[in-house]
Symmetry: C2
Subunit: 221 residues, 2 copies
């Protein structure tokens, strides 16, 4: 991530809340970049017992988010009953300031509010599941067996439009009080990137089956 390349400069916290579909190009691009790098979102619902926040996979498909799961999933059934809030957060690094008060993390987050709708058309659903697999592992749909009719019926897919979207970014270095700058306390940023490890092959396959390039070269951005 960029913070590992440059000295920890002045911090910046930027928040934009936009109905991005109705706005100029900056906001969607920034929201899309974060959503495309993320893997797991947190879906918030209101239930009779209060709020519930559940992690799940997602994919961005143009100007909507796709979510999927078992048709039996309480999350997915609840998610079409009322408004949802879907949040994606990427943690980029720790910010160590000279004062405890100014410690922080560098992060990028997207919060999406709206009403999710179920995709019922089988062909649209198949296409959405392809998008979900490609969001997880770009290149994978060319290899993996596609869903059969039974699997398709067992899967619920929801779409949430990217209309009401909030983007928040904190980057840069420590923001200390002027009177703290001479304290003999190390300050700076510790980047916390996600770095893929060595692939672990399934033991039930031939040992000479090559690891695909999209696994060997896997990056989230």
């Amino acid at each position: 991530m960029s913070s590992s390349e440059a000295p920890a400069g002045p911090p910046s916290v930027r928040t934009t809340v936009r109905r991005i579909a109705e706005r100029a190009s900056y906001d969607p691009a920034s929201a899309h970049a974060i959503l495309d790098e993320g893997l797991v979102c947190h879906v918030g619902l209101v239930t009779d017992d209060g709020p519930v926040v559940i992690p799940t996979l997602y994919a961005r498909d143009g100007d909507r988010l796709l979510l999927h799961g078992s048709v039996a999933s309480r999350l997915l059934r609840g998610a079409t009953d009322g408004p949802v809030c879907v949040t994606v957060t990427l943690v980029d690094g720790l910010v160590l300031a000279r004062s405890a008060f100014h410690h922080a993390v560098n992060y990028r987050s997207v919060v999406v509010f709206g009403q999710a709708e179920r995709i019922d058309d089988p062909e649209e659903k198949r296409a959405a599941l392809d998008v979900l697999v490609e969001a997880l592992v770009p290149g994978r749909t060319a290899d993996a067996r596609r869903p059969n009719d039974v699997e398709l019926r067992q899967t619920a897919v929801l779409a949430l439009p990217l209309h009401e979207v909030s983007v928040k970014v904190r980057d840069g270095g420590a923001k200390d009080e002027p009177e703290d700058l001479d304290l003999p306390v190390w300050a700076g940023v510790l980047p916390l990137p996600v770095v893929p490890g060595a692939p672990v092959p399934d033991t039930l396959q031939p040992a000479d089956l090559p690891v695909p390039p999209y696994v060997l070269d896997y990056r989230r951005r």
Copy 2:
């Protein structure tokens, strides 16, 4: 993470919902380990406009979670008005199955439901802020300047008891249908650990100020 050390074995998905304070030792230990490894939680609230899910730092302090932020924060003010749901998710790796349907991620998550309460006593608040800094960077409280009275007043700290807690873990390898096992499609797990990068020193400090060991050796677990 363990999945990088061993062949991708049979998958397991375990869910436990427990009022852990009233239960035997397994559940708290498992929830605590996940909470102690995590850095950012997602707090879900119910507002007049529907659910809101906000990422924020947290710390586990015994059998409660601590959250903090500006006293002006809408999140923190809303979080004491009604029940909240706080979710922490660690993504361990990608699970590539032979079929698109069985693709998954290995992850560990903790979901906490309850009523957060504000900590107002100044000494209890100072202690809580120490716990929050130590959760971010163990060892840091010995070096960083502690909050002064003004900073203390500007900070709201909430405590959420770990009473109603759900732990969910997916680990192991791909779970394919028997009839797919002979497909010539690579299957396995790609670990996705967070690997700290090189520390980036603040440019306003003497170049010879050494990087503390707790930064050089930083690990999330």
